[in-house]
Amino acid sequence: MIKVKINGQEQSWDGDPDLPLLWFLRDEAGLTGTKFGCGQALCGSCTVIVDKEAVRSCITSINDVAGREVTTIEGLHPNGDHPVQKAWRQVNVPQCGFCQAGQIMQAAALLMDNPKPSHDQIREAMSGNICRCGCYQRIENAVHLASTGV
């Protein structure tokens, strides 16, 4: 039996220990905010925060996070008012919105590590997250805004 804390709640799993965390979150725990985009850690749509680090849940097995704390988009802030989320809304970042949970989790992890990133640092840290609609200019602006006070 694998135990993992997700958004502050203890969850357990006694199925395949190799099951990617992504599918545990989405299909078993019903937390569908985390998205499937590539399955190979190439696009960042599935980004969650494990302890304090941004992690691609599509290549992280449920066993890898046993005993650790996982935060998904649903748990980032109780009212959805994390500075990154607020900045995202102020800058009107999303188009289709599908990649945005992963983008937001990546940005939140970046700001935990580096509260005042430069534009180059933002571009570097966010470069693992693909947005096919092409919201990059606004993503960069929103992360900058979140880091300077929303």
């Binding site: 395949d16 299909d27 959805g80």
Partner: protein, 770 residues
């Protein structure tokens, strides 16, 4: 120039979008409105406005009925139906916003309800072709005005005063003479009893009174849900007892399953069943390709199970499809005469007599849509009833196809439209929903079919591959006197009809036969090309290769004659006029030529505007270059300037992009800007990396590592968007797609300016590294 009035609300946005001073005076002044309004049932009105659109000719036309689209609850909440699919353009916000504007509803008390697929009830729902605002601006205004009138009539009756004395203002109806007011909620029950007013008598708001339209201060309705993970896309639908399916499809288009061994797959924990999926013979339209489905308790188990399947395929006739050989075929065909689709003057003779002939051969490979959300659908089929939840661009078409595939009446099929995690034309084809329906029927349980990224890239409906060859003949003074453009590409029609070797009229009308230059001798030709894979619509479709070729050729002529690119472009466009190509029934994006002509004054205007705002001719650092391109598509006019920087290792970056768009009368300039910003990224992606290639009939790319797209660290540093203010009666035109075509040629022209290297084959790949 005015900055858009959105202080504080949209920080970061106002810096980059500027709207030219808009004449707000009566944008729709002078509209004569006719048409019937049947009370008992929704009606398709025949379009007879000051401007006519092709909306009425779409399947099921337009429905103008407030009772279909608007409801008002006693608590005052106004619910407005969004009947088009939201894939990122903002249409789920924009169309209801138009209704709210006209009915004087307060947007903060409006809820948007997504329509299910029912075109008889809602009118055409095919969210494709950059049509939503173009076809629905006026109908949505009429629906809002009808609802407002009904509320006003109800209030007037309640007070016993003439309806002319009352006025709806911001969610209430006011009788100013007596100072009485009633909220929309208080009037809801009475208003519902009012007869629906005739369209002819409706009074539309004066544009100067707009609170929302043209302002751009309203965020999309799903903004909060998207940023908190609550927004529901296709894959997020969960039903009790639902099974998860992943399908192994034939690796070669038209291939068939010979045999399969499910044993290893069945041993994977969580896998419950392995079953065959029905396939259709090629060309298979939107029907499934067939294959083997692995059914599991979660998607992860289904994928793992599929990886363990042992499969034997018969590749069939397309098993030899090879992109290297096919390119040669296309290029050879482009060097010989082909079906003439437009002829003016005598291009042959003029080319022979020309002082100089410039030849450009351009190649643009297959592309895959790869929306961030791969195709996915949930189906629950019980007996002769089916319910679908899916991200589909055409819910009406999906309903029809599900009914036909299952052999049940269309009325027994419900298609629930989720948000689309990107579409770009891929989700106009509902094969994934049909797969889910077939599996659910067989299993007797709800099923979710999830495509992986590999499936999406390897089994999609690809953008075509094309060779474009242009010969331009110049006289002694450097004037272009002859133009021959041969375009060779498999047609989308090949997905529907076997033996297709020519482009369909709608493809010929996308940048080939509608070419706007003022040249005396023109020949546009379409030599034959057969398809060996499924070809489909991709955002802006054939405009991508045509704009790439035509606008690159402009750069080549400028280069050969030592002229400035922009000056050369304006010279070729020529005098302000309406272009009437010598083409029988020239396809015009489904729109009548009278209201949507090829207007070179507008084409010139976007070039001049972008040149002015984008500071054409400005001094740029060493290794940088400026390029320009213009293209009319989806009846909009768009010009783009790209500044590129190429370092000494051949690595390119894009410091700045400027784009001017004339999309006629518009609704939400903020979403126009976001579409154009995104189009620059998509244009850069396809120019830099975009290539799907085949070997032995199989797609060679698998995922984002070998089919790359632009990431944030290589995206343009800044994209500025300028919107041309419409004249009072300029009809609305497309926004979602037309931003893409001019980007690649502007970039390629900029690369030439920076390096002296002329790229004629996309993607750029490593060509600059040599």
């Amino acid at each position: 120039m005015n900055f858009i009035d959105n202080p504080g609300k949209l920080r970061g946005f106002e810096k980059h979008i500027k709207v030219e001073k808009v004449s707000r005076r009566s944008i729709l002044k002078g509209l004569g409105i006719t048409g019937g309004f049947v009370l008992a049932a929704p009606v398709m009105t025949r379009q007879a406005f000051a401007y006519e659109t092709g909306a009425g000719k779409m399947p099921h036309g337009v429905v103008v009925d407030p009772r279909v689209f608007v409801s008002v609850a006693p608590d005052g909440i106004v619910t407005i139906v969004g009947h088009r699919s939201e894939m990122g353009t903002g249409v789920r916000t924009s169309l209801p916003l138009i209704v709210a504007e006209e009915m004087e509803a307060d947007w903060s008390r409006v809820k948007v309800q997504q329509a299910h697929g029912d075109e008889v009830k809602f009118g055409n729902q095919d969210t494709d072709g950059s049509r939503s605002t173009r076809h629905y601006l006026l109908p949505m205004r009429q629906i809002g005005a009808s609802a407002r009138t009904m509320l006003e009539q109800a209030a007037a009756k309640r007070w016993g005063v003439p309806a002319t004395e009352v006025k709806a203002v911001n969610h209430e109806v006011v009788h100013s003479a007596s100072g009485r007011k009633l909220g929309f909620g208080e009037l809801a029950a009475d208003a519902a009893k009012e007869s629906v007013p005739a369209i002819e008598g409706l009074k539309l708001k004066d544009a100067k009174d707009f609170r929302y339209l043209t302002k751009g201060q309203i965020g999309i309705v799903d903004l909060h849900d998207i940023t908190t993970g609550k927004a529901r896309y296709g894959a997020d639908v969960r039903l009790p007892g639902m099974k998860y399916a992943v399908i192994a499809r034939p690796p070669v288009t038209g291939g068939k399953l010979v045999s399969f061994d499910p044993d290893a797959a069945l041993k994977v924990p969580g896998v419950e069943k392995v079953m065959k999926v029905q396939g259709w013979p090629w060309p298979s339209k939107f029907q499934p390709l067939g294959g083997v489905a692995v059914i599991a308790r979660n998607t992860g188990a289904a994928i793992k199970g599929r990886n363990a399947l042992k499969l034997v395929w018969d590749d069939g006739a397309n098993g030899k499809y090879d992109s290297v050989a096919f390119r040669k075929e296309l290029e050879e065909a482009s060097r010989k005469p082909g079906l003439v689709v437009r002829q003016e003057g005598d291009a042959d003779a003029a080319l022979k007599g020309a002082d100089k002939v410039i030849v450009g051969e351009y190649y643009i490979p297959h592309l895959a849509h790869i929306s961030m959300e791969p195709p996915v659908a949930v189906a629950d089929v019980k007996g002769d009833k089916a319910e679908i939840w899916a991200p589909v661009q055409s819910p009406g078409g999906t309903r029809d196809d599900v009914a036909k595939t299952l052999g049940i009446p269309e009325g027994n099929v419900t298609v629930n439209v989720t948000l689309l995690g990107g579409g770009f034309g891929r989700k106009s084809k509902c094969d994934y929903a049909l797969e889910a329906a077939l599996l659910s029927k067989e299993l007797g349980a709800p099923v979710k079919v999830q495509w992986t990224r590999e499936d999406d890239i390897q089994n999609g409906f690809l953008h075509t591959v094309s060779a474009e060859r242009i010969e331009a003949g110049l006289d002694k003074s450097g004037k272009v006197i002859a133009w021959r453009h041969r375009s060779v590409a498999p047609s989308i029609a090949s997905t529907f009809a076997a033996g297709t070797v020519h482009q369909a009229p709608f493809e010929i009308g996308m940048g080939l036969a509608d070419m706007p230059f003022e040249i005396a001798n023109i020949s546009c030709e379409n030599p034959e090309a057969a398809a060996h894979t499924r070809i489909g619509w991709f955002r802006s479709v054939s405009n991508i290769p045509r704009a790439f070729a035509v606008q690159s050729m402009v750069g080549e002529i400028a280069q050969a004659t030592g002229r400035d690119q922009k000056d050369m472009l304006l010279e070729l466009i020529g005098s302000p006029r309406i272009v009437k190509p010598n083409v029988k029934d020239l396809w015009n994006y489904g729109e009548p030529q009278d209201s949507y002509p090829i207007d070179t004054a507008r084409l010139r205007k976007v070039v001049e505007l972008v040149a002015e705002k984008g500071e054409w001719g400005r001094k740029v650092p060493k290794g940088h270059g400026l390029g320009i391109a213009v293209h009319r598509s989806f009846v909009s006019y768009i010009a783009t300037i790209v500044e590129v920087a190429v370092d000494d290792k051949g690595k390119l970056s894009v410091p700045r992009v400027d784009t001017a768009i004339d999309c006629g009368t518009y609704v939400n300039p903020e979403r126009i800007a976001s579409q154009i910003e995104g189009a620059a990224i998509m244009g850069l992606s396809l120019a830099k990396y975009g290539e799907i290639s085949f070997k032995d009939g199989k797609v060679q790319q698998k995922n984002f590592d070998d089919f790359q797209v632009v990431r944030i660290d290589e995206s343009p540093v800044v994209t500025n968007v300028y919107i041309v203010p419409p004249n009072s009666d300029t009809p609305p035109s497309g926004v979602g797609e037309p931003g893409v075509p001019p980007f690649a040629p502007a970039l390629i022209n900029a690369i030439f300016a920076a390096t002296g290297k002329r790229i004629r084959s996309l993607p750029i790949g490593k060509q600059l590294e040599a």
